[in-house]
């Protein structure tokens, strides 16, 4: 019945099956929204965060999904600024994913603060020395940019394009899109960094504190790099998942290997710098602040293995996979590599947020762990569900993969 909404020439499952697919996610969303409501109405005592674990699951996952969402701006950057036209095949999908990641993150942040009503104070009494101010500023603006980038994709829908005013607006937006891509890239570079700075500047936390260049600690630059490196990997992996779920070929294979190649080079640079930074920190920064770096890894369950996993297993390994032209030809390797790379950035964000807080600073304080409450988990799952639903709708009714129909005709011909 919704056939007239679907672009001609693409195959989509029946409305019934589509609804069946949406139902569980909608339920999840409902439960999550309930939990979210609890946190807003009854307050953050609904979570398991505490004075020591001032940040918990939410901040960790926010940082993670924002890093993964970097695929959006980076692909845009490569396409519009560096003119890598092959990436046109994934840019729409990347933008939608970016939009989902950022809007989700912002949503969770709104619940995470104790007084959401006062969120706007940051724009009113900004403390320009705070990394969080940079983050707030950039993320809000970049979310607008993403929304604008999302608009044309939406307006190109088969029915919407029939509305003349939409049509012309879309056309005009399309013309100025490079401006937004540029702005978006600028903002994203900036706030990915600020998110890193968030922890790097914590002088009171020897485990997180890093020296820096100018006003920014090294984590500022490492976060940018790791985000850039994993962004394409995540685009790759998400595209692959979509094509598996929808049982369709969506982009030409060489796009995949291009993404992997980009990711690989950035990853190897990142791993290199990260290792240098870690060594400097272990041998200079931490001792200078009177800390004994060995103690950072003295506590189970977070021991040195975590460091190894973060840098070697989930950093170096995928880089090597991506950099070998032979492996890049095999989808299996591409996916393994991408998953490892994405895992790497997630673990990195975990270490910066959770491990930092779990380590004691005072000699007589205990090491602490924390487990999120069901409200925290549900709230986050709501965001996931929201993402899946929004993406499914976009995929069904909008053109996320321009090459899809072409490839399909090719399939039809053979």
């Amino acid at each position: 019945m919704d056939k007239t909404l679907i672009l001609r020439g693409v195959r989509r499952c029946s409305t019934g099956r589509f609804l069946a697919w949406l139902t569980p996610w909608t339920l999840l969303l409902a439960v999550g929204l309930f939990a979210l409501g609890l946190c807003l109405v009854r307050g953050l005592n609904q979570t398991n965060m505490d004075n020591r674990f001032a940040f918990g699951l939410w901040i960790f996952l926010d940082l993670a999904i924002i890093a993964l969402g970097a695929g959006a701006f980076f692909t845009g950057f490569l396409l519009y600024i560096l003119r890598k036209d092959d990436l046109r095949a994934v840019i729409n999908s990347a933008v939608v994913i970016g939009f989902i990641c950022y809007s989700g993150a912002v949503l969770v942040l709104m619940v995470d603060v104790g007084q959401p009503l006062r969120a706007w104070f940051t724009f009113w009494h900004p403390n320009t020395h705070s990394m969080l101010t940079e983050v707030t500023f950039c993320i809000t603006v970049y979310l607008t940019v993403l929304a604008i980038e999302y608009a044309p994709i939406l307006l190109r829908n088969r029915q919407l394009r029939k509305v003349p005013s939409f049509l012309v607006f879309e056309g005009e937006l399309h013309k100025v899109m490079p401006v937004f891509a540029a702005v978006g890239a600028f903002l994203s570079f900036f706030h990915q960094g600020s998110l890193g700075g968030l922890y790097g500047v914590l002088q009171g936390r020897p485990f997180a504190f890093r020296e820096g260049f100018a006003i920014w600690p090294t984590t500022f630059f490492l976060f940018i790099l790791s985000a850039l490196a994993t962004g394409p990997a995540f685009v790759l992996v998400s595209t692959w998942i979509v094509s598996k779920v929808s049982r369709k070929q969506l982009v030409k294979p060489h796009v995949f290997s291009l993404l992997a190649k980009i990711s690989g080079w950035l990853l190897i640079v990142y791993v290199g710098l990260k290792s240098v930074d870690t060594l400097v920190w272990l041998n200079r920064t931490a001792p200078q602040s009177g800390a004994n770096p060995v103690q950072f890894y003295a506590w189970q369950p977070f021991a040195t293995w975590l460091l190894f996993v973060e840098i070697v297993l989930l950093g170096l390994l995928p880089a090597l996979i991506f950099l070998s032209a032979k492996r890049r030809q095999s989808m299996k390797w591409l996916i393994t590599g991408s998953l490892l790379a994405c895992g790497g950035v997630v673990v990195n964000r975990f270490v910066m947020t959770i491990q930092t807080l779990s380590l004691p600073t005072l000699a007589f304080e205990p090491f602490m762990l924390y487990w999120p409450s069901w409200q925290e988990v549900a709230t986050f799952l709501a965001v996931v569900a929201y993402g899946v639903i929004l993406y499914s709708l976009s995929f069904r009714y909008l053109t996320l993969f321009p090459q899809e129909r072409e490839l399909q005709r090719g399939g039809g011909a053979s």
Binding site: T4, T128, F186
Partner: protein
């Protein structure tokens, strides 16, 4: 944020940082404003139709976008950059020049079972244009088009006096639940609707006499061959192959034969609507 309010005061940091931030915001807003302003303007200028075609043309598959001179074998593969409006094309005149005088066949021909009368020129959206005696032209669906649609469930023609633009909407059809826009082959003003007896749909007073963007009957031949092939390929079922390949007279309502699941797509393909 306002200096003096609750002893707030600016520092260099504020100026730089807030400068950048609010600069970016202004840029974003400005761009949106510009975009909407320009869209308003072009909306007033009624460029919507043109843009729609522009969009659609972009979304067409490459095979659908071949240049007419590739079809006629005058050049190796070339994709049309002008949205099938040869009047805007730089190279089209050269091809015509190179072609020299070749008289159009005077008798009608049958390609893949579809008639191509020689007294008219053809549009790639399966419409034709026939010059009348006193300047006005008549427009109608070509044989493939009308076979494909058969008897439409509904048809709405533009009121007399309304303006047509090349590649804009000529009229719209409804058939088997899928709506089809028939692209107009000419610029002009609608004079009259054809009565059921006629083979034409609209009588139009053309804006100018230049119909060079349309296919001459001789070009139409190779084009129609390609179209039949595309139609053929687009159908997963074997029947069309059988009926059409041998040039036998096709069933006059193909739509009844095409599997309903594919009809909409076939129409999109033939009438150049993604």
């Amino acid at each position: 944020m306002i200096p003096g309010v609750y002893e707030f005061s600016w520092s260099a940091g504020h100026i730089i940082f807030l400068g950048i931030f609010y600069g970016v915001i202004t840029l974003v807003l400005a761009t949106i404003v510009v975009a909407s302003f320009r869209s308003l303007k072009s909306g007033r200028a009624g460029r919507a139709e043109a843009m729609l075609w522009h969009l659609d043309f972009e979304d067409l598959s490459p095979e659908a976008r071949r240049c007419r001179h590739e079809l006629s074998g005058e050049t190796r593969s070339r994709e049309c950059p002008n949205g099938f409006d040869c009047r805007r094309c730089a190279v089209h005149p050269q091809f015509l020049a190179a072609r020299g005088e070749s008289a159009d066949p005077m008798e009608e021909q049958r390609i893949g079972g579809f008639l191509l009368p020689a007294d008219r020129s053809y549009h790639r959206g399966h419409t034709w244009v026939r010059r009348g005696d006193d300047g006005e032209v008549t427009i109608g669906l070509d044989d493939l088009g009308s076979h494909l649609i058969g008897k439409p469930d509904q048809i709405d023609l533009p009121a007399p006096g309304s303006r047509l633009a090349v590649n804009g909407t000529a009229w719209e059809l409804l058939k088997n639940g899928s709506s089809i826009r028939v692209l107009s082959p000419v610029d002009g003003i609608v004079l009259r609707h054809g009565s059921p007896g006629d083979d034409w749909m609209l009588e139009v007073a053309p804006a100018d006499d230049d119909l060079s963007h349309l296919l001459s009957p001789s070009e139409a031949r190779s084009w129609m061959l390609r179209e039949v092939e595309r139609l053929h390929l687009s159908l997963s079922t074997g029947f069309a192959g059988g009926a059409l390949a041998d040039g036998g007279v096709p069933v006059d309502d193909l739509s009844t034969e095409i599997p309903p699941g594919e009809f909409d797509q076939v129409c999109g393909l033939m009438f150049l609507q993604p």
